[in-house]
Symmetry: C3
Subunit: 86 residues, 3 copies
């Protein structure tokens, strides 16, 4: 029927334009990456939203968009909080 | 007209596939949840992007993906920064 | 052909409903905004996911949804980690 022809055509066009439900219903997903020393990096494709440091240190910066760097003089561990849409 | 038939059909297909403008134009939305003591949790559906602790403490970890845990020996409050797409 | 008429019609409807691939394939994107003193704000359209403070301070709160406020008695710099979908 015209109806089924149209339905198929619409779905073909949508798929060709990468519109699929899975790309729409993405959620914010985060992990923590903990490392010894004063640097900890997020996996590729994820970005740093915050960092934690050993010895109670709250002074950190982010290098190369992916790596937490804890600045205090004595640091035993660093944690990067890494997030992306998934 | 064929035009209006097609328009209606397209919108029906889109709705059936959960494509609606509101699901597309989502934004990153965050809140802070502040609690007494060394634990603070995000509401369901939100994820922790970072934590703050009392007494200047910058050492924290995240438990069960939703709960900030401040590690220093003396902690009076904990804040979880909670985000999601909305 | 009917096929090309339908294809054009579908794309017109999609465009009219603001469905375009660019709005679908958004990613989480973050920057750090570093400022002297105890306040640092995110640009409009971005939200704070975490804060870092000078002098090892890990006690911060977020004001007006956009501004990191470092609470320790002595603070020389504040960094806001700012994110949005882009």
């Amino acid at each position: 029927s015209l109806d089924s022809i149209m339905e198929k055509k619409i779905k073909d066009v949508l798929n060709s334009l990468e519109y699929s439900p899975s790309t729409i219903t993405k959620k914010l997903s985060c992990i923590s990456v903990n490392s010894r020393g004063r640097l900890s990096s997020c996996p590729a494709g994820m970005t740093v939203t915050g960092c934690a440091c050993g010895y109670g240190c709250g002074s950190w910066d982010i290098q190369l968009e992916t790596t937490c760097h804890c600045q205090c003089s004595v640091i035993d561990w660093t944690t990067a909080r890494c997030c992306h849409l998934a």
